[in-house]
């Protein structure tokens, strides 16, 4: 894909807007979709709202856009409360999950629509629409209609249409979810590139953790209308604040252990707890697959125990391109997923020995 510089009229002029959601409440028929949600997005920052279906992430985005009226709290853009400002006056660009190009207009007319609403003169409007289309490398398709474009192209046009008016905030409501995997990856990189070049404050809603971790400056993990944790992708992955985050972001093995004075003992191995204040007692420790080492068990159980390892037998193994994941069944039927080098191959039924790396783990009270 051709990488194009941002158009002159779309070039970065400022540092983006500050967006603040302060104790926002949204209820549907008595149930709270947003439960006093608070979130501050810094100027020019790319935030991903990540969470399972029904956690309220799309509601949060639609509330910010003005497509939903909030029941409490405030929403501020650059310090100005916009909670009562109608959507067409909020100066927000939005790309939707569904293809949203106007089918009776050409690509260029679609992109011009926002400028037309702002009463930009015809010649300038056309020039700016073509510049925006150039930015997404689709200027050569300006005279096509939506039904003549692929899904990826439609979403790129939708992105150009959202950005051509130079909105203060860009909202992306799962714009990649309808696309196939390869297009999804290339388009998310393109979105990130354009966002970085324009410096526009962006809120990106997704349920795809890989997508969120790959593009966002910070990721906010949502659960039941609240933000469970917000932080950089690395923070979320390496130091999840709660078992939910540990479980939702990336893959985790839930292993029974005991917490004693800041230390978690899992299968005789001492690991430090990410949250030392968690109550002592039986716990579930969340161990990442890459924090488990696996090797062939050559000399039986006695040897394994003496070296601090745990015995198990391979259940299945998956080739994932650059790495391999192997599922191992322990003697108590616990399944542990191990991520290891692709060159190491174990077959189902093989006897193996697992050891844990000493990384701190997230814990939850044992059921």
């Amino acid at each position: 894909m051709t990488v194009t510089s941002p158009a002159p009229t779309l070039a970065r002029l400022g540092e983006g807007a500050v967006v603040e959601l302060d104790r926002v409440v949204k209820e549907y028929a008595g149930s709270r979709a947003l439960n006093e949600l608070s979130l501050t997005i810094r100027p020019g920052e790319f935030i991903a709202l990540l969470g399972p279906s029904g956690c309220g992430k799309t509601t949060a985005l639609r509330s910010l856009a003005g497509l939903e009226q909030i029941d409490g709290g405030s929403i501020r853009i650059d310090g100005k409360d916009v909670a009562s400002t109608p959507v067409n006056k909020r100066d927000i660009g939005m790309v939707f999950q569904q293809y949203s190009l106007f089918p009776h207009l050409t690509v260029r007319q679609n992109v011009e629509f926002g400028l037309e609403m702002r009463r930009v003169a015809g010649p300038e409007r056309r020039a700016r629409a073509l510049e925006a289309l150039e930015m997404v490398s689709l200027d050569h398709l300006a005279d096509r209609y939506a039904h003549q474009l692929s899904g990826g192209q439609q979403q790129r046009v939708a992105l150009a249409r959202a950005l051509v008016t130079r909105p203060r905030v860009l909202l992306l409501d799962e714009p990649l979810s309808a696309l196939d995997a390869k297009v999804r990856v290339s388009l998310r990189e393109e979105i990130r590139r354009i966002q970085t070049e324009l410096g526009i404050t962006t809120l990106f809603v997704t349920h795809d953790q890989e997508e969120a971790l790959a593009v966002a400056d910070r990721v906010a993990v949502m659960r039941a209308g609240e933000i469970e944790q917000i932080g950089s992708p690395e923070e979320l992955y390496l130091t999840p604040a709660t078992p939910f985050v540990a479980d939702f972001v990336g893959v985790s093995n839930r292993m029974l252990g005991v917490k004693e004075a800041g230390t978690v003992i899992v299968r005789g191995i001492h690991l430090s707890a990410l949250d030392p204040t968690a109550p002592d007692g039986p716990v579930l420790a969340y161990v990442r697959p890459e924090d488990v080492e696996l090797e062939a068990a050559s000399s039986g159980a006695a040897s394994a125990l003496s070296s601090g390892g745990v015995h198990g037998s391979v259940v299945s193994t998956s080739f994932l391109g650059s790495l391999r994941r192997t599922s191992v069944r322990l003697d108590d039927d616990t399944i542990v997923v191990v991520q290891h080098d692709v060159s190491v191959v174990h077959r189902p039924g093989d006897s193996v020995r697992l050891t844990l790396r000493g990384r701190p783990v997230s814990v939850a009270p044992a059921p």
Partner: protein, 325 residues
């Protein structure tokens, strides 16, 4: 069972810059029971015959002269110049046509100004009421006209007290009769595109509700609206029972009256009504099948023509943040 051989499948890039491709060779694969060109011609001839034969017979009948074996246009002439000696008066027929056209216009207005906005409102704001609206709109088709008329009679006592007993008030009753015919094509059109997302996209781009409806929703509903109008016109022009029972003079009631004294003239008007309906169908069909964006393209061509002689283009100045319509 024999094994199915594995065949390699080439996957086309989904994000290619090309539109859906046309087949390379001239011969396209045929699916199902699609008729051949010859079969299509035969079907067309039969269908045209079914329509043309009765129309031709009607036309031939209007040329007959009582007691003679010759054909002429004397009955057509008599419409413009009635024979005073026979005492036939065609004015109720012309009055009936005028009344029917008035009722048609009012009923179409009811469809466009009440039913259509209601359907849009329900779709955009109250989707839970969709089923209720559908039920209400489809209901009249399940009730015989005669039963409806019995119900309308007391209602029309009130209507007459408020608006008088002018024939145009029949539009209220006919507006109910046409509901199922107008509702269905509009509902089908609405379900054919994502009305909610398109309107939200347009609003997020700065459009107010009026702009969104006029510029985005209605152009995408042209086919459904045109079909609804056509069916409404057809139903109104064919409606007899309500007008007759409510003692109103419309085209259909006048036609029946005239047919009792002058069957030739009534046939002339019946034939004219059929031809009118056919022309209407063609015109409305053409309006509904116009290519997407045609109106916008025309508007742009006009703008380009008017801009051709005007001042130099505006310099490229970026919008200030927060600039809105």
């Amino acid at each position: 069972m024999s094994a199915v051989p594995l065949t390699s499948v080439s996957v086309e890039p989904t994000d290619s810059a090309t539109a859906p491709r046309a087949p390379k060779s001239g011969r396209q694969p045929r699916f199902g029971a699609e008729p051949s060109p010859t079969a299509r011609r035969i079907i067309l001839i039969i269908v045209v015959g079914v329509f043309i034969v009765p129309l031709a017979a009607m036309f031939e009948f209007t040329l007959r002269v009582t007691g003679k074996s010759t054909l002429d246009f004397s009955h057509y002439v008599s419409i413009a110049h009635p024979d005073a000696a026979t005492g036939v008066d065609y004015s109720p027929l012309f009055q009936g046509i005028a009344n029917s056209l008035t009722i048609t216009v009012l009923t179409v207005a009811i469809v466009l100004l009440i039913l259509l906005p209601t359907m849009l409102l329900v779709e955009l704001r109250y989707p839970r009421m969709r089923r209720l609206l559908e039920f209400v709109c489809i209901l009249p088709i399940t009730i015989p006209s005669i039963v409806l008329v019995v119900g309308f009679v007391p209602v029309y006592q009130t209507v007459a007290a408020i608006f008088g007993s002018s024939p145009w008030t029949l539009a209220f009753a006919v507006g109910i009769i046409v509901l199922p015919y107008a509702y269905r094509p509009i509902a089908t059109n609405i379900s054919a595109f994502d009305l909610v997302t398109l309107s939200e996209a347009a609003r997020s781009l700065g459009g107010n509700w009026l702009t969104v409806i006029w510029r985005i929703i209605l152009p995408n509903m042209r086919r459904g609206i045109v079909s609804a109008i056509f069916l409404t016109v057809a139903v109104v022009l064919g409606e007899y029972t309500i007008a007759s029972f409510l003692s109103q003079n419309t085209f259909q009631t006048a036609l029946l009256l005239i047919s009792q004294t002058d069957p030739y003239v009534s046939t002339i008007f019946a034939l004219a009504a059929l031809i009118f309906a056919f022309i209407l169908l063609v015109v409305i069909g053409r309006l509904g099948n116009r290519s997407p964006g045609a109106a916008t393209a025309r508007r742009e061509r006009r703008a380009a023509r008017s801009a051709a002689g005007s001042a130099s283009p505006t310099p490229l100045t970026p919008l200030t943040p927060g600039e809105t319509a």
